[in-house]
Amino acid sequence: MSIHTASSDLRAFAKKPLNRRSFLGFVGAGAAAATLAGCSTGTASSSGGVFTAADIAGVIPNYYPVDYAVPDIVSVAGSTAGFLTLPATLRKSVEKIPGSGGSYTALSPAWWTIPSANNSYFKAVNKELGTDVKFQVSDGNTYGEKIQAVLASPNNVPDMVVIPSWNLPPKFDQAVGSLFADLSPFLAGDKVKDYPNLANIPTDAWKYSVFQGKLYGLPYPGEVIQNAFFYRKDIFDELGLELPTDADSFIDILADATDPSKNRWGSDDLWNAGQIMFGVPDKWTEIDGKLVHKFETEQFRAALDWLTRLYKSGAVHPDAMAGNDQQANSRYEAGNTLVKSDGVGGWAESLARVLPSNPSYNTQAMDYFAADGGDPVLYKGSPASIFSFINKKADEAAIKEMLAVANFAAAPFGTAEYQLLNSGVKGTHYDLDANGAPVLNEKGQAEVTSTYSFLVHPPVVQAHVEYPQFVTDYCNWSARMSAFATDPVLYGVQIQEPAKFGSLGTPFDDLKADVANGRKDLSALDGAIKTWKSKGGDELRKFYQKYLDA
């Protein structure tokens, strides 16, 4: 084909956001980064009326926790619980086969190699389910486009559709009611007792799945603290570096550690976690009863100033300064940077990548501190990061069957179902190592991917029993940090913004790159705020104020 078609293909491909501005990254970082950046996660104009807290409370399930395995490290103030070993016996949470022979299509994203359809993993799970769930797995990076196209064509909407929160399309409030089934009649209040695993999902996650006052989504719960400063403890110890206690000493320590001749820089781009350190809210904060947007806050200004000083000190890796986020992990794992800002999901993954060739690799999450050295203000992350929806055209029996499938998928850690969904069949897909932890073999790696897990997910626990030290470190860190967790304004309320506000945040991303790199002065922030206000910021404030007052 000609150049023209090729370039329009590229154009289409590159519609995937290629930088941290959107979601290339981890589930936690993705959702949090999208909100941190202040850009609307592609949500739509409000057509319906404002819904109140009472509306929401009326349609969500009640909470009935279940216990199949007792965590070794318990959850504290909402932190993530941890397991150091696999329970000796895996109990079955679903006694009889949930399905009745139905066949359903499900659209789901993948940020990894797309598994072959109808492989032995799918066959095994579908057999246990008693239904045939046929997944249409689509490239995660272009998933936003795919969703928009599919939802625009109602005949092509599958029976179940997974939509990550950052891919919710614009004007979704119009779509959700016309395309998807209202689940409140099936799950609200005590009706959820038919689905005990769904009842085990925390209330906040369900609240966040309420769109336009009705329950439409099945949630994938998120963690309370979703981003962190990660540092190379092994290298820190080797160089005799101390951990920072406030923002300014942070820069000094990183600058001291920088030695370009040894291909070593203090840090990567620390903007995301840096904002957290300064207590920048995700979107809004309330001052004297009025909504103040994150861009307008003093904290944002201070964070940007800090980042600029960090860049100027020469402690940041040049490629990171040039906006190359994709290789941030490579740089960190090679020891070219010592500190990075990342989603917490990347921690275990990093260990899996590096430990085989570097057994002394030790990456840890830094305890947060406030910029001035005091206690940090940590705003809770989104209670749910991914949703799935059921096609409105399904009849009652079909919806019930799909909810039964969801119930299976929501089986918590410690159950046979969880093991099946996450590791496949013993012997075929995985074997147990010396610690009794499942280790995927080659077939398992190719076939066992997150598909059912995206339909709905049990409360998140840290269950990487192959790395017990990691589980301990992680859960203790999570517990310590959760003590500082606080609700942001309008926490957990699912609000769809009008599309025209979507690009209000972009100039601030550009501003950050310009100011931090010294192309513009910090004072340019004032101009940007003024423009933001006149171009829609004030309107946006009024829009959200309605929900605050409701």
Partner: protein, 331 residues
């Protein structure tokens, strides 16, 4: 050598009736009908392309009407509220839009001078190589980077020219201060063109190799016999023979000029700042597409399209003035 007079009807057609000859329009109509009869087969040959174009290009292009609406994909296409030129106003009022246009035109103009001629020169240089072995070896290498995605290309450039790259390691080892070539807004134009050259110059020579091979070598032979040296032969034979293709590509390239490098610039936007790297397509992406503001994107697309058409038609007219056929002409 017989010459077919296009204006005379083909043999076999009835001679012009003297009575009708007085009626000019009737004559014209007859000519047109005759022409149609003569070219029936040709039109038949074009038909599949026309049908496919009408179906797969024009039908979706009609979708650009959403530029005049406040579009929602969940409402039937024609049930969306019509907002007239509101979206266009939004686009044109945006200071960032004009900055993007400026950048786009600058980059295009720069590349027209520093990129466009390079494949031509390389092809001519290559053609003069005597050894077929070396020639085919060279050919089979230089086109390869075209197949690398921009992500890889930028990555490679960064590995070599970036702040932590080979060049700077070398400089540091020798006591010279490191310079990050990938983050300089002032030299960004040169960087972008170098990247484009590295990636696509080799691919671009293919068309010109084909064009060069269509030149009759006996022309060279005759010229050499007449005493014309290498340079004269190139100036008087090679380049004139390439002229129609060059002009055609130039005009088409001009039409494409507002589409200059999307992915390439998207990847480097943060490195040098939006001020230097924002072009029309990235602007539309960040302001419209990324947030699903389809009406906005469609409006910007229409503006771009109209300007491109004007550019092409203008360039075509210009080519006609120079006696070239251009993209198409009256006869």
């Amino acid at each position: 050598m017989t010459v077919v007079d296009e204006r005379r009807p083909t043999p076999g057609a009835p001679p012009a009736d003297p009575a009708i000859q007085k009626n000019a329009t009737e004559r014209k109509r007859r000519k047109r009908r005759a022409l149609f009869r003569r070219d029936r087969t040709l039109l038949l040959m074009v038909l599949p392309a026309l049908v496919l174009t009408a179906l797969f290009a024009y039908v979706p292009i009609v979708g650009n009407a959403i530029a005049f609406q406040d579009y929602s994909p969940y409402v039937g296409m024609f049930e969306n509220p019509w907002v007239g030129f509101a979206n266009f106003e939004r686009v044109l009022a945006d200071e960032a839009f004009w900055s993007a246009v400026r950048n786009t035109l600058t980059i295009t103009a720069f590349q027209l001078v520093f990129f466009f001629p390079v494949p031509i020169m390389m092809a001519i240089l290559l053609q003069g190589l005597l050894s077929p072995r070396i020639r085919s070896l060279f050919q089979s290498i230089v086109y390869l980077p075209h197949f690398l995605s921009w992500v890889i290309v930028i990555s490679i450039f960064q590995q070599i020219l970036g702040g932590a790259g080979l060049l700077n390691q070398f400089l540091r080892d020798n006591g010279i201060e490191a310079v990050n070539l990938m983050t300089q807004p002032d030299t960004f134009l040169i960087l972008v063109t170098s990247q484009a050259l590295w990636k696509d110059a080799g691919w671009g020579i293919i068309v010109f190799l084909a064009a060069l091979s269509a030149i009759d070598p006996s022309l060279y032979e005759a010229a050499a016999m007449d005493g014309a040296g290498r340079r004269k032969r190139m100036w008087h034979i090679t380049l004139p023979a390439l002229r129609p293709i060059i002009i055609l590509l130039l005009i088409l390239r001009l039409g494409d000029s507002l589409t200059v490098g999307f992915e390439q610039l998207l990847l480097q936007r943060d490195a040098v700042g939006a001020g230097a790297a924002e072009v029309l397509d990235t602007f539309v992406y960040y302001s419209g597409i990324q947030n699903g503001d389809w009406s906005y994107a469609a409006a910007a697309g229409l503006i771009k399209g109209v300007i491109s058409v004007l550019l092409v038609l203008g360039a075509n007219k210009l080519a006609h003035l120079f006696g070239e056929a251009g993209v198409y002409q009256k006869s």
